[in-house]
Symmetry: C2
Subunit: 137 residues, 2 copies
Amino acid sequence: MGLRVLAHQHGELARYKSGVAKVSITILLESGARIGPGKAALLESIRDGGSISAAARDMGMSYKRAWLLLDSINQAFTEPVVTAATGGAGGGRATLTAFGVELLERYRRIRDEAADLAADDLAALSRRARPEAGPKV
Amino acid sequence: MGLRVLAHQHGELARYKSGVAKVSITILLESGARIGPGKAALLESIRDGGSISAAARDMGMSYKRAWLLLDSINQAFTEPVVTAATGGAGGGRATLTAFGVELLERYRRIRDEAADLAADDLAALSRRARPEAGPKV
């Protein structure tokens, strides 16, 4: 049984498994603002953990970097995506707004549907891929 | 008629039109090598024009940069994607191999199908997008 057949039968598995090429999705807004896998993962971590500092730690970035990314997402839309309490007992607590949850769901739906529809093409390319990447350019 | 309906009815148009968010696709090979919109456009230009220097000029990059990108694509796979004649009368002529054409077709299929399936989500996000992007991070 070839890899193509396997990937077709187990699309859900293949999507997250190493051994097969994957597809990465970035939403490009008309303004030039971008929502890609990094920002989506940050939103997801905040939705689940309610903390910018914990999300930053999970993703191996500074608190400041995470804050700047969230600020840029907020500024990309006419309504906030994340609200944060700064200072005091609740300092660093962050919550996705209803629109933030919607944005994340839309991103994930596009990503998951794209992964499913791309499964056969990705499996075919994986069969011709070298195990080691060439120079990064 | 809302933007969502328009985008749904005219997915083919909306995909390339400004005024609506778009989706950008990058194929991530297991090795870490990436094939995104820039490399796909470069392959497309070479397929159509047969020239690395013309493709580089079209894309506003140096010949050397285009050459490095093509070399990295070639090194990502077990068979060549582009063949180029260097020096002499045919210097700079470049041709996609059959596999190169296949790679480009697979990339374009994933991209176009993803754009179609994402049309409603992208239109909904466009309605909430600000015309000016915030700070780039």
